[in-house]
Symmetry: C2
Subunit: 238 residues, 2 copies
């Protein structure tokens, strides 16, 4: 936690004063080993960043005086379309994408997504939000990403994706019949990443019909949690 | 497992024939759901890659006829100097680095590495090898990386690192007083990555004395398992 993310409910009636309990309190005590008077990086969800000075640190709550004046980092102008990863890696992938500045993530189905993945409790709204908060706290950002869930590949790609992608560059990470992933495109992009084992040819054809170009990261096949930072770092070098 | 890695012990007396048991047998049955006659990607540790055709698939062993003629992918000309990550992420970090083609990884101490991390059974030679095998099997590579462990920061950086880094470019990922990480250096590089919370100023000074330049990945702070793919992808775009 490199920044403590604050929500509306955290603010008390005294202007500029917050009161935190639960996970963030425990983290302050156990990891930061914070003390009264200490100043830490804070940010308001979807708002400004700044500092918080600990006024009191008690068993059940910490109170801080916060000053918020700096803007959060610029978002990546990128929508990530991701075949639902296995539950074991879903949280890590959301944290990775959020920490890199992705603000729209669409979890989609694909033939090689196992049906059981869709039953995972990790897909609950509550868990998805919790993981994005962890990603923002890691990266020092405040702007919560939107996560959409689309369980039917064909209607999504045919009916919704073209409008969603708008006039952005459209890329699908796919190691076959692909050009090298461009470096430093920097502009608005919609990037699709397949499941373990990749999209099947039918899915690639559908994405190509929707204007997506296949791009490759080289001959090595990466796990999705490595592929996403590698792709984003290449597309947006700073 | 996008490639089955074969070791000398797997080869039977019949030329070109291997016999596998244990983890790889289970994986073939449970994940690949492989059948007799099927052909899969294989590679010999530190040797060539090719295909293996299943001759027999029994309860306790699978036998394959293998043909090995393709070279593995080129290694990254990079040595990764990494402050020992917490045990929970160590395996993932080794897999990530190996899958991206790192062939020399040095795990070092730093002030912000918790002492208890050095007690982890994950530092056993057996576990380190197991993780590198998973990374190679993921990436479709055969060349095993070397993992060195250096528990004392100062003697390592003063006495061993200068010769190890030779005439390579020397970079330390550090977000303060840093220039932007170069894109596509491609040449031989020694890259140092700090612990959670970063190297302390003394450590950065020592690395600078050893010829390391601080480079930044931008204002976002990434977890080590995301930072490594992001850094390597930027330094070596294909």
């Amino acid at each position: 936690m490199n920044l403590i993310l604050l929500f509306d409910d955290d603010f008390t009636e005294t202007p500029g004063k917050v009161r935190l309990t639960g996970r963030r309190l425990r983290h302050l005590k156990e990891v930061h080993r914070a003390a009264e008077g200490e100043t830490l990086a804070v940010g308001r969800a979807n708002g400004a960043m700044g500092t918080g000075t600990i006024l009191s640190l008690e068993k059940n709550a910490v109170e801080m005086a916060v000053t918020l004046s700096e803007p959060p980092p610029e978002p990546l102008p990128l929508t990530l379309i991701l075949a639902l990863p296995r539950p074991k890696v879903l949280n890590r992938v959301i944290i990775a994408a959020t920490s890199m500045g992705v603000k729209r993530l669409v979890l989609i189905n694909a033939v090689r997504v196992e049906k059981s993945f869709w039953q995972s409790p990790r897909l609950s709204e509550e868990n998805l939000l919790a993981q994005t908060v962890l990603g923002l706290e890691q990266a020092k950002d405040t702007q919560l990403p939107e996560i959409l869930i689309r369980k039917r590949f064909k209607p999504f790609v045919e009916d919704e994706l073209p409008a969603m992608a708008g006039d952005t560059q459209r890329l699908v990470a796919h190691p076959y019949d692909a050009v090298a992933c461009p470096v430093g495109v920097c502009g608005p992009t919609t990037l699709a990443v397949g499941p373990e084992g990749g999209f099947i040819p039918y899915e690639i054809d559908k994405l190509k019909e929707a204007g997506f170009d296949a791009v490759s990261m080289g001959e090595r096949i990466l796990r999705v949690e490595s592929a996403i930072p590698a792709l984003l770092s290449r597309l947006y070098p700073l």
